[in-house]
Amino acid sequence: MPGDMVRGRVWRFGDDISTDLLSPGSYATEPIEVRRLHALESVNASFASGVRAGDVVVAGRNFGCGSSRETAPEALKSLDVGCVVAESFARLFLRNAVAIGLPVLTCAGAAHAFSDGEEVEVNLATGGVRSKVGGADLAGNPLPEEMRRILAAGGILALLRAGSADETHSSHAPKES
């Protein structure tokens, strides 16, 4: 499926990266062009200005914990982050990331397998996270087709706009009751 492959440089973060760190409440009323510049600033001040399209955020456990705000994944998507690879995600962050079209992948061992700036390749279909410079080659949890279709469309609203919502469900539409 288009969009299954992500290639970029690694930006490493620790455990419990919260929605407050991703989208600080003090900028909540600012437009996204401003908000994204403050993403993760209190853990890595050079992230927002240094991140390039396709780069991969690699983190530990419970990524995106905290509130249900969609501005958290939105900040990363708006910075053109290619994928977030974490040991585990908070449930609502995972839902919201897929909903807005930010690829996410759960991968055990990722937090300590790569170094900052290392070139990696992420395959959302197989779950593979591989160093392009001969480093680690890990097997994460592949994303199911439903989620990859939403990501490929650019988010659940893009899917809705494209009018393909029904098609998405055709293979296993609920029976009439």
Partner: protein, 421 residues
């Protein structure tokens, strides 16, 4: 292999005979709820996606409860837009400012029923598990999609089960139970998982306690937190509940944890995490500036009753502000009728309109740097009620009422005497 309650509900909603943990399903939604923080945004995204009607106006609930009454012109404008869209889209269930908190309204109005799959733009939608429904929080984009199509994808969660035994001692309620579980098992024991609260003690638990416990299930990570519907649920729903779904006896659980209730003490979550929980004895005597009784966790009639019993003939400590917010107008009216409101006001409490009140730091009873509050709500993160330098303790209505009288954190099982302060 049998199915857990969550598996049964997701199987039914996705038109299958069975589902297994880890599978992804596309399920039909029985009820979708949005409140005033997100509803206007949801509607405008729905419009910009070119959608002119919601999939089923009788399955959508819109509630104005967070910014109540509107504390700013901005909030008032938000509310105006919500009312306009509710009319335009013909949404059947709408509660305007002052009606109460969304989670309470869905439950007390019999909107949520056993076996339903319910989504809301609020993490505490797990509250509906008290009536045996699978309720969970979603973001605004997922809500737009739900309103347009009536469907949403779900990963079938593993289920864990808390087997509760023993009777609750005097002055100990559902809040103490759920804080005890949070303290003992941590804030991510149920991450991505469904919880069944079960065991002999579950059957004897009143609906108010069940609502409190399911409300805070999300604080330990849960996607759903449920009590299987039983006789008590049927009475609560006016005896009209349909055939109840129940977990199969041979269902597979990721974990089963026994919880003994008979020796439980009053529990207090200390700053700044819901799972930093201690028995009240460890923080007794800590001076407080504000006490709050309310929220979707503990703003019910039973909660006001416990508080009024302790405050009857007593006075709130002169250095403490006691704020009370009934969770709905129906509760407010009934508390008034039973004389509970009079008792609370007589004791020095300020009654806030039915709604979220200061629970999420929106308005109405916020804290200054260095101030300390004990409340019956569900989160004590820094900044949740105003200044990030304020401290929030979470406890049961009994513990909060006793503390309001004492002027410091107090044990409701003791005759309350004032602290030196």
């Amino acid at each position: 292999m049998g199915l857990t309650l969550a598996e049964k509900i997701l199987a039914r909603a996705s038109g299958r005979d069975a589902v297994a943990p880890g599978e992804f399903v596309v399920a039909e939604i029985d009820l979708a709820m949005a409140h005033d923080i997100f509803a206007a945004q949801v509607f405008s995204e729905l419009r910009s996606a070119g959608v002119e009607k919601v999939w089923d106006p009788s399955r959508v609930a819109i509630v104005i409860d967070h910014l109540v009454p509107a504390p700013s012109a901005q909030a008032a404008e938000l509310h105006r837009r919500i009312r306009e869209e509710v009319d335009a889209l013909g949404i059947e269930y709408f509660s305007d400012a002052g009606g109460g908190i969304c989670h309470q309204l869905l439950a007390e109005g019999g909107r949520s029923r056993p076996g339903m799959l319910i989504v809301g733009t609020d993490s505490h939608t797990t509250t509906q598990g008290a009536v045996g429904a699978a309720g969970t929080g979603i973001g605004t984009s997922d809500m737009v999609y739900t309103l347009a199509t009536g469907r949403l994808w779900f990963r079938v969660p593993e289920t864990i089960r808390f087997e509760m035994t023993g009777a609750l001692p005097d002055m100990i309620t559902g809040k103490d139970v759920v804080l005890f579980i949070a303290g003992g098992f941590g804030s991510d024991v149920a991450q991505y998982r469904a919880i069944e609260f079960a065991g002999p003690a579950a059957a004897g638990m009143g609906m108010a306690d069940r609502l409190t416990i399911c409300n805070m299930a999300v604080e330990i990570g849960a996607k759903f937190g449920m009590f299987a519907a039983d006789a008590a649920t049927s009475v609560y729903l006016g005896g009209s509940a349909d055939e109840f779904l129940a977990p199969d006896a041979d269902a597979a659980y990721a974990a089963v944890h026994p919880i003994a209730l008979s020796k439980l003490e009053p529990q207090v979550a200390v700053p700044h995490a819901v799972d930093r929980v201690v028995p009240v004895g460890e923080v007794e005597g800590t001076a407080i500036h504000q006490a709050f009784i309310g929220s979707c966790t503990n703003g019910r009639l039973e909660d006001l009753e416990v508080a009024a019993d302790l405050l009857r003939g007593a006075q709130v400590h002169p250095k403490v502000r006691l704020l009370v917010a009934p969770a709905s107008r129906r509760i407010h009216r009934e508390a008034e009728r039973r004389g509970l409101i009079g008792v609370l006001v007589e004791a020095g409490a300020t009654i806030l309109p039915p709604g979220c009140g200061p629970c999420f730091g929106g308005h109405g009873g916020l804290l200054a740097p260095g101030e300390r509050c004990i409340g019956t709500h569900n989160r004590n993160f820094p900044g949740r009620m105003g200044s990030p330098q304020a401290e929030i303790y979470l406890a049961s209505p009994a513990t909060v009422a006793a503390s309001a009288i004492a002027g410091c954190i107090a044990d409701p099982r003791k005759v309350v005497s004032g602290c030196a302060r």
